[in-house]
Amino acid sequence: MLKKTTIDKLPELAACLMEKGTLVAPVKEAGGFNFRAITDAAQVDLIFHNTILSPKTVFFPQTEDFVRYSVYQPILEAKPVEPEIRPTFLFGVRPCDVKSFEIMDIHFTRTGVPDPYWRKRRDATIIFGFAFDTSEEADPAEFYHTLGIGAADPDGSDVFMLRRDDVLFLKAVSPRGENLLGGLAGLTDAAPDERKYFDDYIAQGHDYKTRYTCVDAEAIAKEFEAIFHNTDFWTKVSNACLSCGICTFVCPTCYCFDICDETQFGQGVRRRVWDACMFTDFTLEASGHNPRTQVYQRLRQKICHKYSFHIRKYGPISCVGCGRCTRYCPVNIDIFSIVEQAVQAKWYKRM
């Protein structure tokens, strides 16, 4: 089912979705775009390349309250916080970001003890994927192509969208998407030539080249294992690293969190808050011992986690090539280059 609307009617579509549930869509704000719960249909803005924070914020918000408690009252009085979970429409997600949900699913719900918060939010959400504009020049930071993701992959979306000038095409990809699209007023059916345009666009998505290097998950996992103890290599690539948390916070597949008790006047809330393996206190133990005091150890953890540990533990590479970490890095550290160095040249052996 391929439907269409026009960009100027976007607010109507948005309003329509807002009636059915929470609409989360890209919004332009100071500093750039971000996914936000829409309060005013006119806020939705699809003229964007990608958001600063990845859409993982929808399923894994930066803070998630677990329990409200009073430190002076018996523990029995503590009340679990019921997250408000409504049917949600996550609108305008780039294909690489859509892919990240799948990778995160493995960690949060498909292995070990399932995380109830991720699962419930994920179950309640319909994803509107949104193809990159292949007529633009590829962003120098991005490399999703390396991870086998096309600029217009509809996989993982419920509805997939494509913009052609003023027209927005919407195609139902999953049964849930089909259901939804069928019931949305204001959309018209696409013409056959438009359907062809749509299909061609998607098919050609893989021809749209971001930075690319041949990466095989199993092989690269081994490569990083081999290089893991090469301090010189890691020192060299981490020389510029500031050890801030930007790359992990903007990353769609970083899931580390801390559990904090925040109390004032005896009333408090236990919540989880994003944490980053780049922070020194991440692994600091109560005894004062810290296994990762050096910047190189932390950068190594981050990169090896994505390109080695994750593969061995869960299968896929924990990276979708969205380029956020590179784009927002204050010192232009480029994870892709590090991967490239590790894979191609066996660079470390020349040292």
Partner: protein
């Protein structure tokens, strides 16, 4: 969200506090479950741990010191952490009285591989306060229903001084039993100490347990482990038959929060129990 939410602790009540050592910074806390359902759900084996949870302070992962055969309660031996600034949770717990209530999340992690241990001779080697889950294991194996499932049991336990030995009454009781060989040692004795003096690795060498159909289960401070492992290699124990338990900063305890990994393994959900063979597959610094 409260149903089966792995992040929400169950309430437990302190029914007993045992001051274990003469420095008073290690205590064993016995907890009973406030909700009987929770007791049913809290099914564990020796070697597992749980998060002790005090609202306003945080959570602390602690090995379970009691054995599943101890019905009606669960015990944890807790050291007040931190030299200059005490750990928030452990010091709050130490300040509590019997009757106080806290939260408990667990059981978490993998236990000592009981099935693997069955029918084998077990050498338990512990140092200082890290003896807790070993105590659980020994208690479990010594239980009348279980004793026959295991071969010979040898316990080698050491502490720096006699006053720093934990579970003194139990040790005394074990020493009297014939179905377990108990060797207690201290680095440095005192006027009243009549037992063995010497470091654990030396004592292990001295006792020289046979590697025949045997598994060594070792827990202790890093330096003890470092010097004890070669002794067991020399005695002929294979890497698969040497087990230990790792410690790492943990938060969630269920492999989600991402901080306790050693290589691709999360200590909390893939461990904390590892064989030496498994550890060799992991990076040595992390």
């Amino acid at each position: 969200m409260s149903e089966n939410n792995p992040y929400i602790p169950m309430p437990v009540e302190i029914s007993k506090i045992i001051d274990e050592v003469d420095t008073h910074d290690i205590k064993t806390f016995r907890f009973t479950f406030v909700n009987k359902d929770d007791e049913q759900k809290f099914v564990y084996l020796p070697g597992q741990f749980a998060e002790l949870s005090i609202y306003g302070k945080g959570e602390s992962p602690i090995g379970i010191a009691s054995a599943p055969t101890d019905a009606g309660y669960v015990e944890f031996t807790v050291q007040r952490a931190g030299a200059i600034l005490p750990g928030l949770v452990t010091s709050a717990l130490h300040d509590m009285d019997e009757g106080g209530r806290i939260g408990l999340r667990g059981p978490l992690g993998h236990s000592w591989p009981i099935e693997f241990l069955e029918k084998k001779n077990i050498v338990v080697v512990g140092g200082g306060f890290a003896f807790t889950t070993l105590r659980s294991l020994v208690k479990y194996m010594l239980h009348k229903d279980n004793r026959s499932r295991f071969g010979d049991i040898t316990v080698i336990y050491g502490a720096r001084t006699p006053g720093l030995l934990c579970y003194k009454d139990e040790l005394a009781a074990w020493e009297k039993r014939s179905d377990i060989k108990t060797i207690i040692t201290v680095d440095k004795g005192n006027e009243t100490w009549t037992g063995r003096e010497g470091f654990v690795p030396a004592v292990c060498k001295d006792v020289a347990p046979s590697p025949e159909n045997a598994v060594a289960v070792i827990c202790g401070p890093p330096v003890m482990i470092k010097f004890t492992l070669p002794v067991f290699f020399e005695l002929g124990f294979s890497k698969e038959n040497i087990l230990t338990s790792l410690e790492m900063r943990m938060k969630c305890g269920i492999g989600k929060c991402g901080r306790c990994n050693v290589g691709y393994k999360y200590v909390c959900s893939d461990g904390p129990v590892f064989s030496l063979a498994e550890l060799e597959d992991l990076p040595r610094d992390f």
